[in-house]
Point group: C2
Chain length 256, copies 2
Amino acid sequence: GGVVVCVANQKGGVGKTTTCVNLAAGLALAGHAVAVIDLDPQANATTGLGIDHRTVQRSSYDLITGSASLEEVAVPTRMPGLSCVPSALDLTGAEIELVAAMEREHRLAESLADAPERYRVVLLDCPPSLGLLTVNALVAARDVLVPVQCEFYALEAVARLMGSAERVRAALNPELRIGGVVLTMYDARTRLAEQVALEVRGHFGELVFDTVVPRSVRLSEAPSFGEPVVTLDPGSRGSQAYRALASEFAERYGLN
Amino acid sequence: GGVVVCVANQKGGVGKTTTCVNLAAGLALAGHAVAVIDLDPQANATTGLGIDHRTVQRSSYDLITGSASLEEVAVPTRMPGLSCVPSALDLTGAEIELVAAMEREHRLAESLADAPERYRVVLLDCPPSLGLLTVNALVAARDVLVPVQCEFYALEAVARLMGSAERVRAALNPELRIGGVVLTMYDARTRLAEQVALEVRGHFGELVFDTVVPRSVRLSEAPSFGEPVVTLDPGSRGSQAYRALASEFAERYGLN
Ligand SMILES: Nc1ncnc2c1ncn2[C@@H]1O[C@H](COP(=O)(O)OP(=O)(O)OP(=O)(O)O)[C@@H](O)[C@H]1O
Ligand SMILES: Nc1ncnc2c1ncn2[C@@H]1O[C@H](COP(=O)(O)OP(=O)(O)OP(=O)(O)O)[C@@H](O)[C@H]1O
Ligand SMILES: [Mg+2]
Ligand SMILES: [Mg+2]
């Protein structure tokens, strides 16, 4: 069966969406059946995969509220083997609506019960917060993948995220593990990036993927084309990094 | 009297905290009495101003819940004329606690009623979401200042933020205006930055500050020293940009 992995970090702008979109695309290129579920009301993963969030009929909101099944909400992307559950603006209200709901932290997990039969890998793209959408993702997932931008504020955020993941594991999802840590936006010209990388590897050891994603302009340009960089510009450093990350991920999860 | 300005953008990592900390420092250097209120549970503005959020006794949480006054929670920073209301971890639960509270959107506005008498400028640093903390900030402020990172996803976020600000203006705070838009992390080597800047200026015209903040490594290093870049490294491009922004801001708000 497949694995559901939550891509989370409450620090904003660290590369959660870029990692979801490009890691998923890299895995699909290698022949695996993959889905990206966009749990961010900003709908960036939806846009990054070439879907217009304004025309979306059903969304991750329907999945979380239980009014539609995974099969009904998933749509194909331009890449064979890669599906997406898009986000839409109605997700904004979901967190406040969920506060008073029964089993509010388990709604997504229930809707994704059959996901491992449909897909080899499901990636959950989370918004930059530790609210009910991210908690739902942490409960629904077996693993959490943490992108860490090689900057000071992002480093500080990791301890708090690990604390939240531990609280979810203890109270709501005993299976939850740290699946891995990915260093992103590594700028080789700065000492800060090197210091952050050393500190993260010192703290998380083997959990940190060998692949480090460099800062690369093509990565930030790809979303405007609605295409993952791994297909838009296969020769770019950003693409090579995410292809390498995909094969390391496949190795670690025994996908081959 | 002074002015309360909310620095907001639900897109993560666009430079909200960096703008709060360095604009405030630039204004304080010019002799104005300024306060930064950190409304983000991540407490980045608190750290960026040299305060250890782990040792904080009272925080913005007390301000929002009304259990302490502005005078009681504000602490001095290393810079004369610049005070900070620090954030602490208890702010994480505030959003859920506020959902059921009376006047939940007005709590901060009530606590800041005397702020314009105490400070010439108060900057509210918001978390990357449109939840109750940011809504409280939009209700408490007269103006909203929007940092826009010169990247594609960040551009998409602006329309949604303006929609939220308009809803707050119509329902909760009729005084709320768009005070200005600041272009951040402008990388002159990329066409994308130029395209985003053109689009933002085309759409917001005069509201966009002339000062554009370039991408600059010193800006991302400064938080690790707990000091704004304008004092840490006055000659750096980041510092020059925020000093220029501060004088443009002072001009626009008639502070001189
Ligand atoms: N390695 C990289 N090199 C250059 N730019 C990058 C890289 N990774 C991401 N970006 C760009 O940086 C910005 C932030 O990345 P992204 O949106 O993926 O982060 P995020 O964590 O999903 O943000 P949010 O917290 O808002 O959800 C985007 O504009 C993206 O295109
Ligand atoms: N002009 C700049 N040049 C280079 N780095 C910058 C610049 N402005 C901010 N940074 C760095 O980019 C990262 C994001 O900036 P910052 O934390 O201020 O954004 P934010 O919008 O407050 O993020 P969040 O959404 O998490 O609150 C930080 O590591 C910061 O040090
Ligand atoms: Mg994202
Ligand atoms: Mg911030």
